[in-house]
Amino acid sequence: MIPPGRQHLRELPDRHCLAAGTPLCAGCGGLAALQAVCDLLGEKTVIVNAAGCLTLLAAYPSTPFRGSWLYTAMASAPAGAQGVRDGLDILLDKGAIGTEENLEVLVLAGDGSSGGMGLSATSAAIDRGLDFLYLCYDNEGYGNTGQQASAATPRGARTATSRGPQGHPGAKKDLFAIWAAHRPRYVATVTAAEPLDLARKIETARNLSGPRLLLALAPCPTGWGYEPAEGVAIGRLAVQTGLWPLKEYVDGRVQHSKIPQPRLPVRDYFASQGRFAHLLRPENEQLLAALQDETDRYWQEVEEHA
């Protein structure tokens, strides 16, 4: 069952685990989600990282983390989590370490790794029932190399490798559904712009064991084309327009944690970012209508199944 969450922002932790002054871009939506996760998981965490923007958080000789960190490679962070988890379990079984020395294992990876070359290692870790938490910061492109299109890039978005008049021709890969198809312990979509929903899902995940995913929409000022100060508003718009449904998979069922009422037109979200500016041009009227239809159909199905 999903426990009730906190009702007010003032109930969120006021002591922050992650040190300030990282080398990341101002307004990074991935960092904002990670901050919330670190605050609620606490110091007894080892982060197993895959290549991506957030890899630069731990750059010798500094780290913003109070817990531990292991950078692996782009394709195999879940396998690194397997090794650390198994190593700790072996030491616990032997009595070589006490439970107070145990750590929560957190995979930290972007959408490029999570939906691409890391997917095989992820799928295998889930079917082995690995006890780990996975935070995917989804900035909908290969952000660290200048926002080329990834498997998570939404249809129509302009990226460094989809500059045509209609933007990216592919559809966004549904990582939530891919995870849920494995029947793991927990999967949730989140975004830092909805901090109470995020906090509740982090705590839900923390209190479960087995494979658990937090899939965070991570607005990216440099890749998406907006001013850093607008990040929270853009995250909210993604939820309010219904483009980023907040939901969770638990005990075999998918539930939406927030149904946008009223649901704003997708155009409002597209108008907020440079990567979608071309969608508002008259020649893309049909594409814009198709994207609105797609979103409408999604929510219609949600209502029908409610």
Partner: protein, 416 residues
């Protein structure tokens, strides 16, 4: 101590068992699979307390292996050929983590064409990844090398992963008499793993594998791994001496067979060197002053030992069971660089490529190489590099080509 018949794979598994490994990340690949199956059998019979996890690829297997080793447990794993190459990114990475695990590679030729038979292109492709490399010629040596490899990997002045190599089929599936040390002897030789300060524990935050953003810092840490590898030579000699004192078997960095008064020396690694050994004995019977030098330790390369062992020799025949297209043999290049500038280096250094994809090397071919090197010594010039390949083989391949062509025509293809 028990004396029994073991395959090379069985011997590798026994080495791991005697090392009391904690963790075995696994992935099946021919001809290695018997190693993990043997260990799995012991785990299921509760003869070995170890956690086996089958990963979905060798890349993940090496990631898990390295991650567990830096968490502070003793890790063993094994692979072959394509698997080793698939894991290559992580071989470099876990060496950089200074993860002291032991990896057995059962050598097999690389694709393409795809094959199951042995040669050394797989293990030499990862020559520079930071793993130390031990090369075995017998099943006994495989078992003993796994124990030695753990001591070496965990040595505080080394702390690098170690690769133990044996040849697919020729050793992996060949039964030889092997002495299995008692567990108490193995325990005396190899104490429990002490992780030191490199380990993950709550309350002791540690960052491993972190990014560096400038060339100086990068150079510093990369060179540290190089220096640690170089320290591995002295550490190896000390560890091998301790092993000899306990078990009576001596494993010098170089195996020298009848080299002392030899004029001509064969240089080879791996189990095919036993063929050279036999040829040397027969040439000796015929009165030829000839010897065999088999580097056991390839990383770090025992340069001073090589120079010493070959000082004053008239000619050397390097037999490379690998092929570097566009260059020739890898060992020839390594040896030439090691001997360069040595005042009494042999004047003739001849390169042969042979034994690719498990191709046999016959005694007659060793005699012929010996004859050719002698001639070169007399003439005072190096012979050109050669592939060990007979006219009869070429005719056999031509026949296969005819069959392939006939099949294609039979299926309605047109003659060109």
């Amino acid at each position: 101590m028990t004396r029994t018949l073991l395959t090379g794979n069985g011997a590798a598994a026994w080495g791991a068992r005697l090392a009391r490994i904690d963790y075995l990340p696994a992935f099946p690949i021919t001809p290695q699979t018997e190693i993990i199956e043997t260990l799995d059998g012991w785990i299921e019979q509760q003869e070995l307390v170890c956690r086996l996890v089958t990963l979905e690829s060798e890349h993940s297997m090496l990631t898990a292996a390295g991650a567990a080793a830096v968490t502070g447990v003793r890790v063993f794993t094994a692979t072959s050929s394509q698997g080793l190459l698939y894991a290559t990114e992580m071989l470099y990475t876990v060496a950089g983590w200074r993860a002291p695990l032991v990896l057995v590679n059962v050598s097999r030729g690389l694709s393409s064409p795809i094959t199951l038979e042995p040669d050394h292109n797989d293990v030499l492709a990862v020559r520079d990844c930071g793993f130390l490399q031990l090369h075995c010629a017998t099943c006994q040596e495989v078992l003993d090398s796994v124990l030695i490899a753990f001591r070496l990997a965990e040595h505080p002045q080394v702390r690098l992963p170690v690769l133990v190599n044996l040849d697919g089929f020729a050793l992996s599936f060949t039964r030889e008499p092997v002495e299995i040390p008692d567990q108490s002897t193995a325990d005396r030789f190899l104490p429990p793993f002490r992780a030191g300060s490199l380990r993950f524990r709550a309350g002791e935050p540690l960052s491993a594998g972190v990014a560096v953003l400038d060339g100086s810092t990068y150079s510093y840490f990369r060179y540290q791994a190089h220096l640690a590898s170089l320290q591995g030579l002295a550490a190896y000699e000390k560890i091998a001496a301790e092993f000899a004192a306990l078990c009576g078997r001596h494993y010098e960095p170089l195996e020298c067979h009848r080299c002392e008064d030899a004029e001509i020396v064969f240089v080879m690694i791996g189990s095919f060197a036993t063929k050279a050994r036999e040829a040397v004995d027969r040439l000796r019977e015929a009165g030829e002053r000839v010897g065999l030098l088999r580097p056991r330790l390839l990383r770090p390369l025992p340069v001073a030992h090589l120079r010493r062992a070959l000082a004053g020799k008239l000619g050397v025949a390097v037999i490379d069971q690998n092929l570097a297209p566009g260059r020739g043999g890898v060992l020839l290049t390594e040896l030439a660089a090691a001997l360069h500038g040595s005042p009494d280096a042999p004047p003739v250094l001849a390169g042969y490529v042979g034994g690719l994809g498990g191709r046999e090397i016959s005694s007659e071919e060793f005699f012929e190489m010996h004859r050719e090197v002698r001639q070169a010594v007399t003439r005072g010039e190096n012979p050109p590099p050669r592939l060990l390949f007979t006219g009869e083989e070429l005719r056999a391949v031509r026949k296969l080509q005819q069959v392939a062509r006939a099949d294609r025509l039979g299926q309605g293809g047109e003659q060109r």
